[in-house]
Symmetry: C2
Subunit: 256 residues, 2 copies
């Protein structure tokens, strides 16, 4: 008889944006595997558990996925409650499928606990709805991060077509993304926002347009960042432009 | 001096998928306005609050938005902690923008607390990731529900282009949606799943293809339902088909 592996969404970062179910599971965990990007305050909730850091989204120090899978299987054969904690939601850019499949192949019970994805937390702090009557009733969540041999055109089409677009893991190539969207036909004046460290005290927001997006991305401090594009940001971006916001290096970057 | 209005996501339905922040705010609420679709167990957490039901997603008994806005403003002038509770997340098909704008116009402090949107809860229960390396790196969240005079073509394009599509508030017109997607060029064999009452004990899942989607929708019991379309559902849909699943009326509906 083996234990259960819970793939748990840790939410966007703020510890109190964890779900009640996730908090309870952390408290009862025998062993915890967590992504390096998960807030240490959230990890600390697993008071009883052996705690093991695995993986880091941006490549450094990441354990190979096959190795993580093996460790999850081994842990479930030894412990009742195995928690695998992932930033945001496990099933939206969380790479959970490989772990689910490995556990299923090993005949180990696996449950997924959903979380607040960072795009919703960033939107909450912006106070701007992703959908809006008469303006937006489609939202795309996309990433430019491709596996080997993947076709890049599809995500770009999805990013282009939706009324509101959220780009995960794209801030490092913001200039190229903006250029691609403009080349595909989006107006350079289309409003955009970059939100870094959503839900955390160090959260930063950078309003821009597609034309100024790469300049806005230069203001980032290396935290996880999301890019939002769409008409729903028009008012906020134009208010920011009129304030001639200064960034932390004292340079005006808001859309002219 | 007026109080603060918290627009709070109640999550998909299961009370323990509420965030810690939402639970704390409910406990301290002086007055609570809640959508009729919110789980009564969640509403009951607001032990101190005067509780007022407003709105119901599917049209019946819904208070006009302007009237809700007025009541929120009036409540904030009388109470410190006003909680406006919405199913799922407030900013993804939650119609929160009108309330945010009305509060802002009345100079009332407003904070949004994000929630677990039902698509993520349904995906967790399915155990199927919305994104998957080599298969899906774009997800569209769309609704066919249009306001007066809105153009329908745009949401359909967004639904068509993404690798994985989630359709909110569309189960009542599942046949038309499937026909439109097929007419746009999606193969009739494209896998689809309808999940009703995500995260609740009465949750039901209906695997299908676009060709059989309207038949699957006939199995629904009138609860809130989401339609998922994409290659990531291929294995599960084909497994369901091979099991020749019988629905609650004893009729096989899985894709042949």
């Amino acid at each position: 008889v083996s234990g259960t592996v819970y793939l748990v969404g840790a939410g966007p970062g703020a510890p109190d944006l964890l779900t009640l179910r996730a908090a309870r599971l952390l408290e009862s965990a025998d062993i915890l595997f967590y992504d390096a990007l998960v807030n240490p305050e959230v990890v600390a909730l697993a008071t009883r558990a052996e705690k093991i850091a695995v993986g880091k989204r941006c490549g450094k120090h990441s354990s190979a996925q096959a190795f993580i899978n093996k460790r999850l299987v081994a842990a479930a054969r030894k412990h009742d409650v195995v928690v695998r904690l992932k930033g945001g939601d496990p099933l939206l850019f969380g790479r959970a499928q490989e772990e689910i499949d490995a556990l299923s192949a090993a005949d180990i019970r696996c449950e997924v606990v959903p979380g607040v994805t960072s795009a919703l937390a960033a939107s909450a702090d912006l106070g701007i709805s992703l959908t809006r009557r008469g303006v937006s009733r489609s939202v795309s969540f996309v990433t430019p991060r491709a596996g080997a041999g993947e076709d890049a055109s599809n995500w770009l089409r999805a990013a282009f077509v939706a009324d509101t677009t959220v780009i995960y893991m794209g801030s490092g190539e913001a200039g190229k993304i903006a250029a691609d969207l403009i080349a595909a036909g989006k107006p350079p004046s289309m409003p955009a926002v970059i939100v870094e460290n959503a839900s955390l005290p160090e959260e930063r927001r950078h309003f821009a347009t597609l034309a100024t997006l790469s300049l806005a991305a230069e203001q980032l401090n290396g935290g996880p960042a999301l890019i939002f594009v769409g008409k729903v940001y028009a008012e906020a971006a134009s208010a920011a432009a009129h304030e001639h916001q200064e960034d932390d290096r004292g340079r005006a970057f808001a859309a002219a």
